[in-house]
Symmetry: C2
Subunit: 408 residues, 2 copies
């Protein structure tokens, strides 16, 4: 018999997408489903960047340079300058989404059997890339009680072994929305230098910080050789489908090795690079509107959640996600139940069970991630559904129990 | 000190692109360089498929399904039917170029330490994906004397070990242009069944077969569970920069595992999928013109080559590549010399040294790959350059020596 590979077996299915068949079934029954489960913004893609593609004079859609068009990389240098990041176009590799940048990081910097430390809950697809690369993820738990701030550095030190090669951070964070402070970034810098670790910095949500200063890993003086920046235009310009990201590092050896992976896949998407290049020319005021919109949505969502009995949701400082603790026995069951067995005024809500974002088995059982990527009106309706659902859910537990579960 | 990974070190640089700096230097000196080194067709991308993107009504460029838009996959089913391949849309995963399809194949079907057999010379980037996946490539030599036909099955049997999990073929072939016959495909089928091997079939050049029948691995009855088809629109519609391919298999376990890798990277490029969908609606007569054009170019190129003293080029049955044996000491030196030290009427030619396409060290030293992706006029001029260059090249060897080198 033909067998698939071990990593093919071990590869985790997407925790965000596994409920999709239940959502499809609900829709077939005529139920409206509010999708708070996935970070697909409803904000319009800036028409100017789509127009750049529409008006591009293309005779032959050729391979670009494996690092991406030089013209786009030079434009990105200008963009990074605006956000206080000083890099050259020869320190940037344009990638197929942030995903490929993450993959290049794993394959370039880590050997099979090496370990990467990631504060949990974390973006679930890091698991997939780690599995593909044969790398072991060592999670360090951040807690909902302090809004998912950086776990104490002593926890990192306990987790560091001779196999540890890197730390991954994401700020503003997916799935928690937490925005790391300058002090937290400084603490990460110190530990990376002390233990000689790479710092992989996923900055997909850079523009969406609401409270406090935004600090990029690239702002940390003295850490230049350690930092690999993983970037994407997906969320910044609401262009997830473009699949356009960037791998940025000042470490020449890392850059040169990553370029070989980039050459093997020839080039990043061509039409998307035209969009990306045009995006740099959008006025800086472009972000004012989506940012204000996300901020209003955050405020509505969090206040609605915290007004529900037994629910706790810390205020996320950035991105467009929040994790809430619910008075439930099991978030996987609850999220499925919402789609399979519940409706209110013929509507229901789709959430992401938080278990999928934890590396430690058993954690996050009474938490869900909510992406506030819908209009205020939809968020209102979705929260009404959630409130009713929590009243009716057979697996409801009393608040103290829920808190005890989290503290466990 | 921070170290890069072992695979980062071992990852081969692109043999096609390593001469680029020399070409750039030649151009700076004002020399015109004919690029026969890379499979970037000059054929116009069908305007209709670019127009489909221009006229697409996009408000938010969203993630597509991880397997690609269902509408595109259903369209592709129609396309495959036209070429005698019977698959459903649930056996297709849309990929970021053929490259990603190859990568999914390696990661899904092979473990680190496993072996894949590939007739050499072969597409050099298979090495890169094998390296990333920790898979060992076992080359079996095809010979220029018989036009790079499939090596005898006895050679495969000698190379098969307990670690062997797959064979990769590419027909019509890059870099040789060889088109496998029905008998050769049948022989491959038998060996895959006998030894329980996957057959990875890279069919990037399907439409460009000039002599004899085209046989897809998907046409082989009884091999359904073994075949993974790796496809791309890059060459078919001269749309290399779109980065759009497909991973196709009837093996459900392989499909399901590959889907997990597909989910980890979220989705394939969105704008390119619009192009791909429109491409299926091009009339079948669309291929008549590019195919006739490539055929004329092939005939011109091969006759010009064979008319040069000491040069031998078998007639390739498909794709748009040819490998020629030249009366030279070392193709790497020669190709660099062409760019660095030679010009004729202020022109020169860029070729791909064949050494990069062999897995066995030392083979291909007096061979080069030529991609006939330029107009007849340019091919003529490029061949004039090559003829003059061979007269002047200090490392020229006499014909018998060259033949002896190949036979070695």
């Amino acid at each position: 018999m033909l067998n698939i590979s071990q990593r093919g077996k071990q590869m985790p299915p997407s925790p965000i997408r596994k409920l999709v068949p239940f959502a499809e079934a609900a829709k077939k029954k005529g139920i409206k489903v509010y999708h708070l489960n996935i970070g697909q913004p409803d904000i319009e893609t800036p028409p100017a960047i789509l127009d750049a593609v529409r008006h591009a004079d293309i005779k032959v859609l050729e391979y670009s340079h494996s690092a991406g068009n030089e013209s786009y990389r030079r434009k990105l240098v200008q963009y990074y300058k605006k956000v206080g990041i000083d890099v050259s176009h020869e320190q940037i590799i344009i990638t197929t989404g942030g995903s490929e940048a993450i993959m290049f990081g794993f394959f370039t910097c880590l050997n099979p059997g090496d370990e990467v430390i990631i504060p949990e809950p974390f973006y679930a697809n890091y698991n997939g890339f780690a599995c593909a690369a044969g790398v072991n993820v060592v999670p360090i738990t951040a807690h909902i009680e302090n809004g998912f701030g950086l776990p104490p550095i002593t926890e990192f030190e306990k987790a560091i072994s001779t196999k540890t090669k890197a730390i991954i951070i994401c700020s503003p964070n997916n799935p928690t929305g937490y925005l790391y402070s300058r002090e937290e970034m400084q603490a990460l810098k110190e530990i990376c230098i002390k233990y000689n670790l790479y710092l992989f910095s996923d900055e997909a949500y850079r523009e969406f910080g609401y409270d406090g200063d935004y600090v990029s890993a690239m702002h940390l003086k003295g850490l230049e050789e350690h930092v690999v920046l993983m970037d994407t235009i997906s969320k910044r310009y609401s262009a997830c489908g473009a699949r356009l990201g960037a791998f940025v590092t000042k470490n020449k050896a890392v850059y040169d090795a990553a370029m070989k992976f980039a050459q093997a896949r020839l080039s990043p998407p061509g039409l998307a690079q035209i969009m990306g290049e045009a995006a740099v020319d959008l006025p800086s005021s472009y972000f004012d509107e989506p940012k204000a919109e996300y901020l209003s949505r955050r405020n509505l969502l969090v206040s609605k959640l915290n007004a529900m009995p037994g629910v706790f949701c810390p205020i996320p400082g950035g991105a467009f996600y929040a994790i809430a603790r619910l008075p439930i026995d099991d978030c996987d069951k609850f999220c499925q139940w919402l789609l399979e067995d519940f409706s209110y005024n013929n509507q229901t809500v789709m959430l992401a069970p938080a278990t999928g974002f934890y590396g430690t088995p058993g954690l996050g059982k009474n938490e869900v991630r909510l992406a506030y990527v819908l209009t205020l009106q939809s968020i209102n309706a979705a929260m009404d559904c959630l409130e009713k659902a929590l009243e009716q859910y057979p697996g409801r537990v009393i608040t103290e129990k829920a808190e005890a579960l989290t503290a466990k």
